[in-house]
């Protein structure tokens, strides 16, 4: 396997002292992975172990990334974690695969929102609308609900998924431009309010484009309203994929119950990872280009940017379109993966959730957006839920806390950790704002700003000086002696 050749290659180049962190990091990954593998769902303490170990495992690519070793080597190690270890973990417990897929979906959307909010400085509180556009695009054309599309026979074949993935990008980008046009003149809070309204419009639109609205039946049903669109199809996979997965799982001694379902899980995991990687690459390339510089300039000072020849309208629309397109692609994948979409998935809180990821990770930071997605999604979907599960499991066996002699059965339901998701979430944001306002993993530019600002304190005074306009009329009359009566 590739692992052996790599480890042999690197040892002669590095002396052991330099290699120490790398060895520790690899040991960390292997230990966490082995421990996770040894967990069994029937264990009493499984939820707690899993809530601790899985986040540790998901953080491991970031630890590898932070190592001071050649980029290629880091890439290979991260690829091994993502493409070998993670699927093996998924074979053991497919919930992990679901979680990581969810994380990647949010990461890609956070990267997209980062283009709008972080790069161009346009606060968008209705970002989930673009996700909805992608999801409903695929949903409307393939759902088995009795909608107008089905009635007229305009349904799309499952194979057309790939075309629709592309169309989802286009549709979301166009929606982004449509949102961008009326809000061009707005900034800051005003922009936030309008985008928030736009997000709600899309959600309300999809919950009302049906024949079940109020008490009158109208003949046109497009989105099936609040009930949502069921039976959305996935793209067909070739037979050899299923056989290969079955063969692989058997060979590894980890047979899965439903090979078909598991293959699809693996497929979506890979697809989402690919789209997320593409999004990160595109965003990074945009950032590091005249377009990215124009966005930063607009964010810093719109008037000056325009006076320097930056076309404000074009650049802002481009930011909205690019940001939206990532969400559109993810929307199509989301609809296909879940086989069901309803307006509920696109509520305002989802937009806030994605924005929170961007803020936690660091505005304008692509790597930060990915790390933020890991932290916020795990906290939301796994850690707190698992602690609740743990308490329930302990209640079932009438466990008593040692030393304190507290019977866990008396733990009030109101204090279940899962109920405190939003509280912990808010707390996290407040703590972040106090101690790390630029995010857990800020963009280089912001880091630089902060570091250099600390070293030089005399600048603000000079800035004040600049505002004092010195008029010297005596200079104008310099030929006349001043002391003239």
């Amino acid at each position: 396997m590739a692992t052996y050749t790599i480890s042999e290659n690197k040892s002669p180049q590095l002396n052991w002292r330099e290699a120490l962190p790398t060895i520790f990091a690899i040991a960390y990954v292997l230990v966490v992975f082995t421990l996770l593998r040894s967990l069994s769902r029937t264990d009493l303490w499984f939820p707690t172990y899993s809530a601790i170990l899985f986040p540790m495992f998901v953080f491991s690519p970031f630890i590898i990334f932070a190592l001071k070793i050649p980029l290629e080597l880091r890439a290979v190690l991260i690829a091994i974690i993502g493409l070998v270890l993670m699927p093996i973990l998924g074979m053991q417990d497919s919930f992990y695969l679901e979680l990581i897929t969810q994380i990647a979906i949010f990461a890609a959307m956070a990267i997209g929102l980062n283009v709008v909010v972080g790069f161009a400085g346009l606060l968008d509180l209705g970002y989930v609308a673009f996700f909805a556009v992608g999801a409903y695009l695929w949903g409307i054309f393939t759902s088995n609900a009795n909608t107008i599309v089905r009635a007229t026979g305009a349904q799309a074949a499952p194979e057309m998924f790939w075309l629709f993935l592309f169309l989802g990008v286009i549709a979301a980008a166009i929606t982004g431009i449509l949102l961008g046009l009326p809000v061009l003149r707005l900034r800051g809070d005003y922009l936030a309010i309008v985008t928030l309204g736009f997000g709600e419009i899309i959600r309300i639109l999809v919950s009302n484009l049906s024949n079940i609205s109020s008490n009158r039946r109208n003949p046109i049903n497009i989105t099936n309203g609040a009930q949502g669109l069921p039976g959305i199809v996935s793209p067909p996979l070739p037979d050899f994929a299923f056989q290969a997965v079955e063969g692989l799982t058997n060979a590894l001694g980890l047979p899965v119950n439903n090979v078909r379902a598991f293959t699809y899980q693996l497929f979506y995991y890979g697809l989402v990872l690919l789209v997320c990687g593409l999004a990160a690459l595109i965003a990074a390339r945009l950032d590091n280009s005249p377009i990215g510089r124009a966005w930063t300039a607009i964010r810093e000072d719109e008037v000056a940017a325009q006076a320097m020849g930056v076309p404000k309208v074009k650049m802002k629309l481009l930011a909205f379109a690019m940001g939206a397109s990532f969400a559109g692609a993810m929307g199509v994948i989301f609809a296909a993966r879940n086989t069901f979409v309803s307006p509920e998935s696109f509520s305002f809180i989802q937009s806030i959730f994605i924005l929170a990821i961007v803020i936690v990770g660091g505005m304008g930071s692509i790597r930060g957006a990915i790390l933020g997605a890991v932290i916020v999604t795990l906290l939301n979907l796994q850690v707190l839920k698992n602690f609740s599960l743990q308490i329930n499991a302990l209640k079932n066996i009438d466990w008593v806390v040692p030393i304190l002699n507290f019977p866990i059965r008396d733990w009030p339901q109101q204090l279940e950790p899962a109920r405190y998701e939003r509280f912990v979430f808010g707390l996290l944001l407040i703590i972040m704002m106090i101690f790390r306002p630029s995010g857990v993993w800020p963009a280089k530019r912001r880091q630089m700003e902060l570091q250099e600002a600390m070293g030089k304190e005399e600048i603000p005074e000079k800035e004040i000086e600049a505002d004092v306009v010195v008029i010297k009329p005596e200079d104008l009359l310099s030929q006349e002696p001043k002391e003239k009566p």
């Binding site: 595109i282 390339r285 945009l286 280009s289 005249p290 377009i291 510089r293 124009a294 930063t296 300039a297 964010r299 810093e300 000072d301 008037v303 000056a304 940017a305 325009q306 006076a307 320097m308 020849g309 930056v310 076309p311 404000k312 481009l318 530019r445 912001r446 630089m448 700003e449 250099e452 600002a453 070293g455 030089k456 600048i459 000079k462 800035e463 000086e465 600049a466 505002d467 004092v468 306009v469 010195v470 008029i471 010297k472 009329p473 200079d475 104008l476 009359l477 310099s478 030929q479 006349e480 003239k484």
Partner: protein, 259 residues
């Protein structure tokens, strides 16, 4: 033929007439100054020339083209670049990035090229980088290229604004109080820079200035605005002796008492 010509330009803000029926022209390759007391409409006039405001009346013709009412980015593209009275750099960007933003209208912005990193993209970026470095060399900021703009000392920020404006390869450079807050040595250095801009790049310069040493020292033609109207125009010597100008600065009666 004048490089820039303003004909009967007027701008009102509600009841206030900030600029009233101003006729103005600039000959190519000259250094010109606009002076006037606070609130005389100098900066408003600049904003009219650069498209930040649209004139209510009148026409602005630049390089033979009517640019009245064009958006600032189009006017910049046409060849007018400017600096601001209260420095407006892109604070979070590095010195060289500020310069590169200035080059925006001269670059070919292509989304596909950017995302696919086609060879043309890299070539253009390298070329832009090289030109930005040359400009920084010219204003004396070469060794600070990678510092964050807002952390620069005040004088350097002023010079960076000029470098950024030059990056768009303008025909006309508008400087809004470029030496405000500078000490005499710094002002002298700035004057040399303005002259170099004209002599080395062949750029026409128009500046708003309060420091009369600078105005009288480098400008070939001085125009005086007061209450939005042009009250005098001519060589520095002529303007200095104009009783209306003295009155505008020192109030009615001053001129008489000085003569």
């Amino acid at each position: 033929m004048p490089l820039l010509e303003a004909k009967g330009v007027t701008k009102r803000f509600g009841g206030l007439i900030a600029v009233q029926n101003v006729d103005y022209f600039i000959e190519p390759h000259t250094i010109n100054a606009i002076i006037g007391p606070n609130g005389a409409g100098k900066t408003t006039f600049f904003n009219l020339l650069t498209g930040i405001y649209t004139p209510d009346e009148g026409k602005i013709i630049f390089d033979g083209k009517d640019i009245t009412g064009l958006k600032p980015n189009w006017i910049n593209r046409a060849g007018i670049a400017r600096t601001f009275q209260n420095i407006r750099l892109f604070g979070a960007m590095t010195v060289i990035e500020n310069c590169l933003v200035g080059m925006h209208p001269r670059l070919n912005i292509d989304l596909a090229q950017t995302i696919l990193r086609l060879p043309a993209f890299g070539q253009q970026e390298r070329e832009a980088q090289r030109r930005a470095e040359n400009l920084l060399e010219f204003v004396g900021l070469r060794d600070k290229a990678n510092e964050v703009a807002k952390n620069l000392p005040y004088g350097d920020q002023r010079r960076l604004e000029i470098a950024r404006a030059l990056a768009s390869e303008p025909k006309l450079l508008l400087l809004d109080e470029p030496t405000a807050g500078m000490n005499p040595q710094e002002s002298a250095a700035a004057m040399q820079l303005f002259r170099a801009v004209r002599d080395k790049f062949g750029i026409t310069v128009l500046l708003i200035e309060h420091d009369m040493r600078v105005v009288m020292g480098i400008s070939e033609r001085v125009t005086v605005l007061d209450y939005g109207q042009k009250i005098a125009e001519g060589t520095p010597e002529e303007v200095r002796r104009n009783p209306q100008v003295i009155e505008a600065y020192l109030g009615r009666g001053s001129a008489a008492s000085h003569i």
